[in-house]
Amino acid sequence: MSAGRTEISTGRTRSPRRAAHARLVTFRVVVLGLVGLFFLVPLLSMLDFSTRSFLTSGRTGAAWAKLVTDPLLAGSIVTSLVLAALTVVLMLVLLVPTMIWVRLRVPQVARPLEFLCLLPLTVPPLVIVVGLKNVVLWLNYLFGDTPYVLALLYVVLVLPYAYRALDAGLSSIDVTTLAEAARSLGAGWATVIVRVIVPNLTTALLSAAFISIALVLGEFTFASLLNYNTLQVAINLQSKSDAQESVAASLASILFAALLLVVLSVVSGGRGRAAGRRSGRTTAVTTGTPAPSLPSS
């Protein structure tokens, strides 16, 4: 029977293939191991340093406890979290309806909008701060001397990343047809956006939001130069008086951002697998976001 022939013919090609596969697997494991070490060693060192008790040579959670008990650090954590939330809300309110509207009604301005949104990438944060210093003075005059005016600047900072994430989400669905279908069924424009388009952008929205949070929690330049006490500024200050507490706060912020990305990955993966199951195929969900980074400058 032909099965026998098949066995023989595949048998001839199997061992070199298997060897190549084994080499590939080894290569992958080595690369993964090296990259893992590159990331993990500093993190583990931070954990080790922040929990080391120099008096008893044992372990202590004192530095971590200070994240909550130290008023300077605790206050800065709250400030940064509120700033992150404000930035996300402002960014979504500003960008989501604008991008949907441009796609549906004025596609000819899509390019200028993209250029505008990506522009902050090309301008160093230092230049932005210097340029916006007077604007911030006006904001202080209007809203009082509150660190939360930084949210308006952070919206500009996160625009490129959020734009990319949302643009990828909008490109993955047929916005025009869905909108026209909803319109023909009696939906006004607000209903089209809120009940038809946005529910199909969940992954892109989460992606844009998490990237924005990560960026805001890691932002130092704006806050420092404008003399506001955010988490990164507090870490920097604290590092001069209590290095352990400063390292604990750094590690906490890194872990928090990493946790957000894991959540995003799980949510995206879950939705992708569900869609793949529904359509009977494997669907890769691309969030369209760049690799997140925690700018410390």
């Binding site: 869905l178 026209e180 909803a182 319109r183 023909s184 069924l185 939906a187 199909n200 529904r278």
Partner: protein, 358 residues
Amino acid sequence: MTTQTSSSPRTTGGGGVEVRFEAVERYFGSTRALDGLDLTLRPGELVALLGPSGCGKTTALRILAGLDEPTKGRVLVDDRDVTAVPANSRDMGMVFQAYSLFPHLTAQANVEFGLRLRKVDRARRAARARDMLDLVGLAHQADRYATELSGGQQQRVALARALAIEPSVLLLDEPLSALDAKVRTQLRDEIRRVQLEVGTTTLFVTHDQEEALAMADRVGVMSDGRLQQLDTPQELYAHPRNAFVADFVGLMNRVPTTVTDGRAVVLGVGVGTVDGSVAAGAGTALVRPEQLLVRPDDSGSAEVMFVQFSGAISRVRVRTADGSELVAQIMGSALGGLTVGARCSLGLDAERLLVTAS
């Protein structure tokens, strides 16, 4: 607005409305997509707009849906001018060429969407959606999401969704073009059955003449933004008004001839000419394959080039003495003697033909 869900939920607003396009023009920049379209859809009828890409048929449908605005002219529904009425207030159900089910909703929720906007209470909404899904044969798939349905099923749900709101007009924008041939034929018949059952005035846009002829009460053939002819499928096929319609609908042979006093001699047979033909002089007679007679004849001037046996009806391609090729459609049982390379004589089974200028 509140939709009335009657005790017999398979009926629509009331036997259909009259739709009228009056001298509708649409320009995109300097490009003229519609050139003075005048078209009336009678209450309850299904009119198909047929034409090649760019002929303006989809533009006409989108203008009726309110998704596009005419540059000039009016659109009336039961004598009410709806030209300036926004799409979401027009009360028209639409099925799109692209799959348009909302991906985040189940089939049931998709069908309920329009009813929810009309604030129909939950129980009636659910009952109406179930009825509509049942109407298109998908009641058992109500909990499925769009990605869990095949293309044909998605278009069925889209049809149910469009009908659920009891639209005054149903608009079908090439809903079958993304489907494979078998599903297309099934769904074509199903759409027609549903349309007859609910009695909604329907405008159907397609570039597939078979679909148009099979489904529509009347077919409008469009070209260059103009309605070339609006007629029943039978009339359109039998009496095309001009060369474009004749060419676009069905196969057509072109036979050189000369018109004298309203008569032409085509393949040696004298025939009358229909309105729209050239008055006198040289022209081209348009002959349907089934109007062409082919007989085995050793002394005939034509030669059989190709025989396509397809059961009851077969096609024969012949080359005439002047080198032109003609296609004849004959009964499969009459193929005897007509083999490739055989000589044959040609005849004509027509009393009047359209003769266009050469």
